[in-house]
Every structure is written in structure tokens, then in C-alpha cells.
Amino acid sequence: MQSEAFIFDAVRTPRSKGKSSGALHEVKPVKLLGGLLNALEQRHDLDTAYVDDVVMGCTSPLGDQGSNVAKAAVINAGWDESVPGVQLDRFCASGLEAVNIAAAKVGSGQEDLMVAGGVESMSRVPMGSAGGAMFADVEYVFNNKSVPQGIGADLIATIEGWTREDVDAYAVESQKRAAHARDGGRFDRSVIPVKDENGFTILERDDFIKPGTDMQKLGALNASFEAIGGYGYDDMALSRYPQVAAIKHVHTPGNSSGIVDGASAVMIGSEKAGKDLGLTPRGRIVSTAVLATDPIIMLIGPGPAAKKALDKAGLTVNDVDLWEINEAFASVAMRYMKDLDIGHEVTNVNGGAIAMGHPLGATGAMLVSTMLDELERQDKKRAMISLCVGGGMGISTLIERV
């Protein structure tokens, strides 16, 4: 890189159930983002005219979050008219992709200050609204054996020999860690309460976490993909995995990521931006990576992506203090730990999306704030952030404190 890509701040909204009964349902996506933009502005007394671009991830960019939600949010937040905005979609990695693009643009010297993040109001624009060949094109689905990701998650568990108990146990731990972290104030620095126009708080903290979760409660849940697997998806997937006798369906709503609403924003800039605006960097982006693996099993990209990022940085697994893998499904996180040969004690130390939810386009950049806060709390140096991505892709970003 020609210059460093510093992280000046990272914020997010709290997350709430992505249904009409969720606390954030009544909040428009532009407002979710707008609250974060205005928070960044206020926290840093930011001259918004300095911002070169705003990149926001969103996986269902239509309806209330269609037509470039990033630029709409920038205008609606009252930022300087010179600030552009772009929305991008790399499925579940969109938020982190936005961060990586910002890092690349700042690192290359093309830009000096960017805001990157994402938004997903899953209550207002339900998952799958965008359609697309992968989900709704007979020719494509038939030829490419395109199956829902949950089938892939169950296939991973089957191949690895992980039982329902194994994945549930992982989920119980995620809930425990998330509740502990939230209640201990570990997210307070980054979570910006969502307020209405009167200044009344709509949601202060994550409210999706279910602290009382135990094995018994999780055990009572039905497997989510058993029925649709039986319709034929299992056979489609297994046509590429002849070594597997049958897919064991172990994932349930209790050990998969929750459907929630939320948004995130990370301010990334050059040394010059820091000097010009008097901002102190909290960290920097060391390296980033994105790649793709088999699209059918779909969810095994994160481990290879993390390795790729390490290689680029000239570092090894031992150089990383904390690991964060998006808990799309329990088996994804477990496979990530196995691939990298790392323990749960350094991975997702504050829980993950199984407990707190996964607002698709926003999650990647949320994890930046989670890791930055935790590195500071533990006074550690480096953290790796990874997500599995539709189409078999994986993404990683290595950050370090400065």
C-alpha cells in the first residue's frame, strides 16, 4: 500500500428482530444509516465536506433500501452536498467489502477519507426480495445445483461429523458470551442508540440476545432445512458430494444467525486526513482478501480467505490475537476454527450473529467495531474478521491497533 488506511472510528446501531414486531421495523433504512452518519459527525466535529465517498453494503437494494441507499442516507443526514455515496452488494460480506474498498482506495492514495458500512432492514425488505439467478432461474439452479445456504451448512456439519449437540453447544456459548459482553458494556462505545425525530429512544442496545438459552431449549427446535432438503435440495447438493450418504440436518433457528435490522459505519482515512481533521486513529487495516470456493457447500470460504489475508501481510496465525467469524451457522464458525487450527477462546469472544443477529449487508462492518473495541479492552494488537459469502465466497480483513 502506498499509505496506511487508518480506522478513525467504527459505530453501529443496536440490532433488533427483523420482523414487524421488531423495535427497528418503523425506522427507515436511510434513517438507520443517517443516525450513524450524524453520530460520526458529532463525535468528531466532522467537516463532512472532507469525506470523499460513502460506501454502504446492502444485499436487498430495492424497495425502501433501493436506488443507492448510501447516497440517499448521505443527503438525508444533511451532509455536505459534495459527498457522494455508493451501494454495493457482495451478499453477507457487503459491509466488510465496503470497508475493504475504502481501505483500498485510501491505501492507494486515491481517497483520503471514506465512510464504509452497510444497512439491512430485514423487516422492511425481507431476505430474498432481490431474487436473482441463484434463487429464481430454473436453468441456473438446475445446471449449477444452486441450493439454499442452510443445506450447505448442514452438509459441512455432516462431513465434519458434528452432531446437533455439537452445534447447539456452540450456540449456547454464543448466547452466553453476547449477553455477558452487552451487559458488561463491551459494546457501549460503538453502539449508537436509535432515536426518533423527537429525540425519544427507539432502541438503546441489542435486544435480540436470548440470555437464558440452554441445550434443552435449543434441543426442542425443529431443524430448519430438513423439509426443503427432502424436496430435492439434499439430492442436488449430494450430486457433488457422493462420499456423503445423507445430509444430517442439524441447523435450527437457535444455532443459525438471527434475522435482524441494523446498520454500521466505519470511518477510514489516510494519515493526512487524520492530521487535517485532528483525528486520532484507533487502528489500521493491515490486509484484506476475498476468494471463492465450491458454491454448493457455499460456506467454507472464510478459512482460506483468512489465510490469504495473512499471506499478503506476511504474517501467520500466531500473529493474530483475536478472531471473528460471522456466525451465519454454527458449523461455519466451527469449520473456520478447524481450518485455521484456532480455539474458541480466541474466536468470537463476545458472541456472534447466532445471539445478536446478522443484518446481512451491515454485519461485516459491525464486526470491525466489535473487534476494535475488544482489542482495546484486552490491550491486544491484531484481529482477523471473516465472513462466509453466498456463491462460495469468503472474505477477510486483518486489522491492528496503532
Binding site: S20, S21, H25, E26, E197, N198, F200
Partner: protein, 715 residues
């Protein structure tokens, strides 16, 4: 304390009669407590068969606690209001979820929160009363239907269907409300409760009838959801149309449309109700809302209630009015009087002219008959009250004669001399004039105590204002009786003492003069036209001046100078005077009716007259805000001076007079109320700034300095 009377009959049907303290039931603290009590009782009643809501008053329930809304200042007040509407909504939901039918027997007008309560009932039946209205008039006071009105109306009628009622506040007569789909049925008043009960008994156990549309699975909002592709363009276009109507100056309509669009499928029902609350509760803090509530409700009630009417004079009624001059003003006055049940003698110099004046009333009624609002018989009845004549005799015995002849003192004097003897014993003579001094005119009268000025506005049948001008010798009794006459013909009377231009003409003139001054200084005329409109004035001031005619402004001024009423030395805007003089005298730019003024008028619309380039100074510009403020501040300062001089008797008269008579933007609340929400001190400071930059005419008058010193609003 008032209450919700709870009576259960032998069939197990509970009738709840709303009977709160005061003349009308309003949605306030008492209302909520009463509703909460009966809903709790209903929920606990195990053999309940049905519920009927009705009212013990002449109206069902009309409106909310405006005093409280007007007083709202702090975040706590807003929170309290939020909790209030949310509680009201929760009770509405409780009613909707009762396992028995709930009917609203709408015995009188159900407006605002009253209609919102009815919308939470399964069945709405109204009494067939000519004065009964249903509607959501909140927007007219800068508010919005905040107790479920926006949301439920959208579910009932769709976004487009509900717009006239939610965004324009359109009120309906009972049958119109049935046709619109807002209520279910109209019956005669004495059948009302029986009908409601019959419906309730018939609907028991019928799940379809007991389930509100919004609680019905698979129910589709008429016109489809907001995110339907065919609706998306309509949403943006509808927003633009609303902006055009309000010039972006009214916050409430934009919030209402937003709530309606969100309610149509973007939010679930409960979230939509909550969202409606959030968008509603902040409105009372906005100056626009405060201004509208203060003036259009409280101010108007004060004016119509007789704040400026001398006390101790018994209420009177005019039985027979004579109108001299059947021109535009005379024929309009004749119409208003005849409709109010007064016998009218309409005289002009020829019978033909008088008949033409009478035909105006026939023409207005023809339209009403065509629309089905009136019958041919009603038209004939009204027309029979008007006697058109060119003779003096029919005027004999009129208890009021209104002279509405040409605006020249000699003509007015002549008409007075010829007719004053015809007045009944103790009768009143009124001169309709917008500019001539009443005291001077009264000197030709044989009884100046019975002489008064009545400044009607054109077109008289549409304009609600009457400016009553009290001459030096006009008696209190004459004033009181004139006031009563104004109310009799359903006008809103403001009372002013005799001064040049009274209140309205003088203030109106100051705006036109300031606009002319801006043009004379070399500001781009189109900027003056458009920025004056941007303040919320109904018409750009250059167009308006063209309508009024520049020559009239000049003539009136010159007459007043001739009469010694004005001294050119004191002219606040000599450049404007010079400019108007040249426009009229040198360039024959007299106004629209005379072939053009500021604008040329062609078949393809209007364009600025090229000759204005003689004044235009390229590159000479002042801040937009200064242009807007100069126009509004001139009118406000003029109003303050009029108040200071004692020409005005009340602040409310100024506010109502300016809105209803001379087009003050409604969101200002009138030209004195504007100072209150601007901030009295801040307004004074801005006057100082403008005075320093543009001249002494902007210097704060003494009365403003006094009020600023102890931060006292004008009330």
C-alpha cells in the same frame, strides 16, 4: 366532573354516552380517563353482548385539547403527548379486540379525535342532520390526525382515497361520508340508537363483522401497497403536489403523507400507529403549528365572540337592509344578507343595473342547485327576499343602509344626502369603503353617531372578513349593532378606528410598496415576485399589484395627499413612489386590467415587461432572506404601528384581519402572532438590522421595544 355514562340494557348491550364537562366533548385528559374506565369495565363484563358509543351533547366528539397543545414547549410535554396518544390508541385496540360488536351512534359532528374513536368501532351510523360533519380537520391548525386517523383512513380508503380527508382536512356531511366509505349508514336522529342496537344484535357472533379490516388476514389496502411499482411514482408525485400547494412551508401535510405511505404496507398496523404518534407529537412545538392554533382557533373565536364589540349593548338583528349600488360589492352584500334571512332592498340608478345585481344571487344559487346542495325552491325563497329597484321608496324603513357606490367623497356625500331620511327610526348608515376616511364622510350625515364604515372584501360572498371602521362620533351602540349584523351574515368582523387605510388597506399597501421599492432599487423583479411568494403569500406581489392595478395605488395616494391625510415628506419609500409614478404616468403600465403592469399578459401567460430593465441593476442583489424579510417585516411593523396608534382594538383582530383580508401567510398566524414565535427580542434585533441596511421604515416601533424589554408576547 364529566363522564362516560355506562348503561347496560336487558339484552346485554352497553350504551356508553359521552358527557364530558363543557359544551362539547373534546379529547383531553378527562376523555382518556373516562374511556379507560369504560374499556376496563367492558373487558371485564362476561355476558356483554355489544357496545354502542354515543354522546349526550349536540356534537359527538369534536377535536382535541388545543390549549394543551398550544402550551407544549418542552421535551417532557412532547413525551406526555406521546404517552397520551399511545394510551388512546391502546384503548382503541382494546375496543377492536372485544369479542362483541362495537357501534358508534354518531348523533352530532365527529371531528378529529371523535372520528378517530369512531374508526375504532365496527359500525358507524350517523344521524341525518344538516349540520353534522365528520372529518379530520387537524391539518388546518398545523396538526395531524394523531390518534390512528391517518392509519385507519389509509386502510379504509387507500392512500390516494384518504388524502382529501387527512391532508386537506375535508369534512363531509353524513351521506357524503357514507359514499366515501368512512361511515356505514345515515338514519334519522330519532332512529339512531335503535339502528345501532339492531346492528349490534345482528352482528353478534359474526366474525367478519367483528373484525376490523386491518385485523383481517389477507385484507388489501385499496389502491395497493406503497411499494407496488405502480404506486411508487405516485408517492413521489404526490409529495411534489403537496409541496406546490404548501410551498414547502407547512410541516404537517408532509408528515401526514409520510405516515399514510408508511402505513400502506411498509409497516404493520401496530408499528404504523406508533410511527403516526412519533410524527404527530413534535408538531405542537413548531412555530407554524403554534401560530395556526393561536390565531385560526383561539384568535378567531375571540374575534367572533365579540372581543371588540362594546359590552352592555343588547344583541340586535337587522330585519331589512338597504344596499345602494348593485355593483360587485353591493350584489355580494345582497347575497350574504338574503341568505342570512334578511330582507334586502338593492337599489341602483337604473332598474336594469339593480336587477343585474340581484341576478348575481340567482347565479350563485344555480351552481348550488346544479350540485344538488340546494333546491330550486330554496333558491326562489332567497331571491324573493331581494327587491331590486331604482326607486327610493322601497328603502323606507330599512334599519340599516349600506352605501356601496363609487369610491369618491362627492358621490358618497350625494347618495347620503338623498337617502338618509329613509332610514327607520334609529337606523344605521354604513359606508362600504376601503380607503376613504369615515369621520370625514360622517360629517355630511344628519346623525354621525349612527354612521359607520363597513369595509367588505371582494368577492363578498367568498371573503369571510368585514372590517368595521369606527368614526370619531360613531356610537358604541352603532358599533355593536354593526358587529351583530356582521355575525348575522356570517362574516368575521374586526373593528378598527378611523385612520388612513384603516388596518387592512394600509398594511396591504405597505407590502406592495416594499415590493415596488425593491424593484426600484434595481433588484431583479422576478426575484421579488418569486421570493414574495416563497414567504407564503398567496400571490407574488408584482402579480398581485398588477391585479389591484398600479394606477389605483397611485390614485389613492394622490387623493390622500390632496386631502391632507398624508405628507409626501413622510413617505417611507419615495423610490417606490417615484417608480409607480413613472410606471403609470410615463409608461402607461397601469395594471393587468389596463393592458399590463409589471407583467405583459398574453394568451400564452405572462412575462415581465421589458421596460423594467430601465430599473434593473445587473449584479445588484441582496440576500434572499432580506428580500423576504423586507416584505413580511414591513407588513408586521405596519401592524405594530397600527396597534400602537390605537387604531386596532385587539391583537386578535390584527391576526385574523391580516389572514382573512390581506393574504397574510397562514403559517405566520397573522402579522402580530408572527412576532411571538419569531421571538419578540429576536424580531426587534432583526428590525434593527434591516433598519441599518435598508432604512428607518424598519426601525422597531416603540410598542415593539416595550414588549421586547420584558419579553412580552402580543396576545
Amino acid at each position: 366532573m364529566g363522564q362516560f355514562v355506562y348503561e347496560k340494557d336487558a339484552d346485554g348491550v352497553v350504551t356508553i354516552t359521552i358527557d364530558l364537562d363543557g359544551a362539547v366533548n373534546t379529547v383531553g385528559e378527562e376523555f382518556l380517563l373516562g374511556l379507560e374506565e369504560v374499556v376496563t369495565k367492558l373487558k371485564a363484563d362476561s355476558d356483554l353482548q355489544g357496545v354502542i358509543f354515543t354522546s349526550a351533547k349536540d356534537t359527538f366528539v369534536a377535536g382535541g385539547d388545543l390549549e394543551k397543545l398550544l402550551a407544549a414547549e418542552t421535551e417532557e410535554d412532547v413525551k406526555e403527548l406521546y404517552d397520551y396518544v399511545q394510551s388512546f390508541k391502546a384503548l382503541q385496540r382494546d375496543l377492536e379486540k372485544l369479542p362483541v360488536p362495537v357501534a358508534a351512534a354518531i348523533n352530532g359532528s365527529a371531528l378529529g379525535g371523535g372520528l378517530e374513536l369512531c374508526l375504532a368501532c365496527n359500525y358507524r351510523v350517523a344521524a341525518d342532520r344538516h349540520d353534522l360533519r365528520v372529518g379530520l380537520p387537524e391539518v388546518g391548525l398545523g396538526l395531524m390526525p394523531g390518534a390512528g386517523g391517518c392509519v385507519r383512513m389509509v386502510y379504509l380508503l387507500g392512500v390516494q382515497g384518504a388524502m382529501p380527508y387527512c391532508i386537506e382536512g375535508k369534512q363531509l356531511r353524513p351521506q357524503q361520508a357514507v359514499d366515501a366509505g368512512i361511515i356505514h349508514k345515515v338514519v334519522s336522529a330519532d332512529e339512531l340508537l335503535a339502528d345501532a342496537k339492531a346492528w349490534v344484535l345482528g352482528a353478534r357472533g359474526n366474525k367478519d363483522l367483528l373484525t376490523q379490516p386491518w385485523d383481517t388476514k389477507g385484507y388489501r389496502v385499496p389502491g395497493g401497497i406503497s411499494n407496488a411499482p405502480k404506486n411508487l411514482a405516485m408517492i413521489s408525485g404526490g409529495t411534489a403536489m403537496m409541496f406546490q400547494k404548501t410551498r414547502g412551508l407547512m410541516p404537517a401535510p408532509a408528515r401526514i403523507l409520510d405516515v399514510m405511505v408508511e402505513a400502506a404496507g411498509r409497516l404493520d398496523f401496530e408499528s404504523a400507529l406508533r410511527y403516526e404518534s412519533r410524527r404527530f407529537v413534535g408538531l405542537p412545538l413548531l412555530p407554524e403549528t403554534k401560530n395556526m392554533i393561536a390565531s385560526l382557533f383561539f384568535g378567531l373565536n375571540k374575534v367572533n365572540g365579540g372581543a371588540s364589540r362594546p359590552k352592555g349593548v343588547p344583541k340586535s338583528k337587522v330585519k331589512r337592509v338597504g344596499i345602494l349600488g348593485a355593483g360587485m360589492m353591493g350584489q355580494g352584500i345582497a347575497y350574504c344578507a338574503a341568505v342570512a334571512g334578511i330582507d334586502v332592498v338593492l337599489k341602483d340608478i337604473s332598474l336594469q343595473a339593480a336587477e343585474k345585481g340581484k341576478a348575481y344571487t340567482a347565479k350563485l344559487f344555480d351552481k348550488k342547485v346544479a350540485r344538488g346542495h340546494k333546491t330550486e325552491a330554496e333558491k326562489e325563497e332567497i331571491l324573493a327576499r331581494i327587491t331590486a329597484t331604482d326607486q327610493k321608496e322601497p328603502l323606507e324603513g330599512c334599519d340599516l343602509i349600506i352605501e356601496a357606490v363609487f369610491e369618491r367623497i362627492d358621490i358618497k356625500d350625494k347618495v347620503l344626502a338623498e337617502h338618509q331620511e329613509l332610514l327607520a327610526e334609529g337606523g344605521i348608515w354604513a359606508s362600504n369603503t376601503s380607503t376613504l376616511p369615515i369621520t370625514r364622510l360622517s360629517q355630511s350625515s344628519n346623525n354621525a353617531a349612527k354612521f359607520i364604515g363597513m369595509h367588505f372584501f371582494s368577492p363578498v360572498d367568498k371573503m369571510p372578513l368585514l372590517e368595521i371602521v369606527v368614526g370619531e362620533e360613531t356610537s358604541d351602540e352603532t358599533l355593536a349593532r354593526s358587529f351583530d349584523f356582521a355575525r348575522q351574515i356570517k362574516k368575521t368582523p374586526i373593528v378598527v378606528n378611523d385612520s388612513v387605510g384603516f388596518y387592512t388597506s394600509r398594511t396591504f399597501g405597505s407590502k406592495l410598496e416594499e415590493a415596488a421599492q425593491l424593484v426600484a432599487e434595481g433588484i431583479e423583479p422576478m426575484m421579488v415576485e418569486n421570493l414574495s411568494r416563497a414567504t407564503g403569500l398567496p400571490t407574488g406581489l408584482l402579480s398581485l399589484h398588477d391585479e389591484v392595478s398600479l394606477s389605483l395605488t397611485r390614485d389613492v395616494y394622490e387623493t390622500q395627499v390632496e386631502m391632507g391625510l398624508r405628507d409626501p415628506k413622510d413617505d417611507a419609500t419615495p423610490a417606490a413612489r417615484e417608480f409607480l409614478h413613472e410606471m403609470v404616468g410615463k409608461h402607461d403600465r397601469k395594471g393587468k386590467a389596463h393592458g399590463g403592469g409589471y407583467f405583459d399578459y398574453g394568451s400564452d401567460g405572462k412575462r415581465l415587461w421589458d421596460g423594467l430593465s430601465a430599473w434593473r441593476k445587473e449584479g445588484h442583489a441582496i440576500p434572499d432572506q432580506d428580500v423576504k424579510d423586507r416584505i413580511i417585516f414591513r407588513a408586521v411593523i405596519e401592524s405594530l404601528v397600527v396597534l400602537e396608534e390605537g387604531v386596532l382594538r385587539s391583537v386578535a383582530d390584527a391576526n385574523i384581519g391580516s389572514i382573512m383580508g390581506i393574504g397574510a401567510p397562514v403559517q405566520t398566524g397573522g402579522y402580530l402572532q408572527y412576532v411571538n414565535t419569531y421571538g419578540v427580542q429576536r424580531f426587534k434585533d432583526r428590525c434593527d438590522e434591516l433598519a441599518a441596511a435598508y432604512g428607518e421604515r424598519f426601525a422597531p416601533p416603540a410598542i415593539l421595544q416595550e414588549h421586547a424589554a420584558d419579553n412580552r408576547p402580543f396576545v
